[in-house]
Symmetry: C2
Subunit: 205 residues, 2 copies
């Protein structure tokens, strides 16, 4: 995870970008509103605004007519507008690096499944992870024979058939990979409850 | 960027996952090797190993035959194997959340371009960002009429024609959006050098 090397500076940059985005188009605002808009806590908002002021990315002015509410008028400077664009490209790069890392991770999971002698896998959970895995296995030896998802209404998911719950025991598959990411343990418990033996259930790891 | 709310704990979890991944399949290792494999500094590696030991995710043993090299034998416990899987699902969720945020960002850039009266955009840089934008504009009013990339050999990029450098002034486009993420400023300078006027160049922001 060489990606972690850059994470410290990226984290600060993401904070700067979040506050710049929240400021843009605002007439006037409070630090509390900025905290709500960005997801940063008040201490971080204050720190980030100090940084933005130091760097000359924003100018600010206390709004006199509202002395109690501590409203401020923040204005992005030309340097701030330029910085916001640079931070945006940095954010895109950071996200795409993580995405590539995720694809590598999923590919290595697929390879591990293949090397354990499994030919036909089913996926539990019609999620983005399932969608990405369908792309990865397209040119691999292992085949995805279906997707199980009791909450999914369609008949197929990105070209792969949805396995009806009642066909779970008759459908031909060697292992069931849990691709529901919000709560993989719930998926595992459900499968065990449907009589799937634990040695046929695989989790991403 | 509500995503920032969860980032602190995610960061520690990514560290735990990176060290668990680096330990897996290793016979014995040093903290220095772990730092190299994970991208974390030695202080962070030490902190993370302490966390993993506290949580009971790894057991360790000093290897006696190498007293100088401070080699240790680390073993993932059953709890550690389970935790690694949970952390992996967390990492996938984190990455997909960021990816969704990136798509939202690119969509809002497209909307801003549309609202400025631009109908036909060209993209500078045959990058992943260009590829994602091509997907986003597919059902929008604005059209991508070509991709400019002096370093790209093909004739088209994901179904979109590559604009030969010599056709830059005759090809019909209203604005050029910089999609090269490694160094957008270099792209901008190159376009200016090719005689593109600065008011036709757009950057992501």
């Amino acid at each position: 995870m060489e990606i972690l090397k850059k994470q410290s500076s990226t984290r600060e940059n993401l904070g700067l970008l979040a506050v710049l985005e929240a400021l843009e188009g605002q007439e006037q605002t409070t630090q509390r509103e900025l905290a709500q808009a960005t997801g940063l806590n008040l201490k971080k908002v204050n720190y980030t605004l100090q940084k933005l002021l130091e760097k000359g990315y924003v100018k600010f002015q206390r709004v006199r007519q509202n002395p109690d509410k501590r409203n401020y008028l923040y204005i992005l400077t030309p340097a701030g507008i330029k910085a916001k664009s640079q931070l945006t490209y940095g954010f895109l790069k950071f996200t795409l690096d993580f995405y590539t890392r995720m694809e590598d991770k999923l590919l290595s999971c697929v390879k591990e499944i293949e090397s354990s002698g499994v030919d036909r896998i089913a996926l539990y959970g019609a999620s983005d992870v399932a969608r990405i895995l369908l792309g990865i296995v397209a040119d691999r030896a292992v085949k995805v024979v279906g997707v199980v998802d009791p909450g999914y209404a369609g008949r197929e998911y990105h070209g792969c058939p949805i396995i009806p719950v009642e066909d779970l025991s008759t459908w031909s598959w060697d292992a069931m990979l849990i691709t529901s990411i919000d709560d993989p343990d719930v998926g595992e418990a459900w499968l065990l409850g449907e009589g799937v033996s634990s040695d046929r259930i695989r989790k991403l790891s």
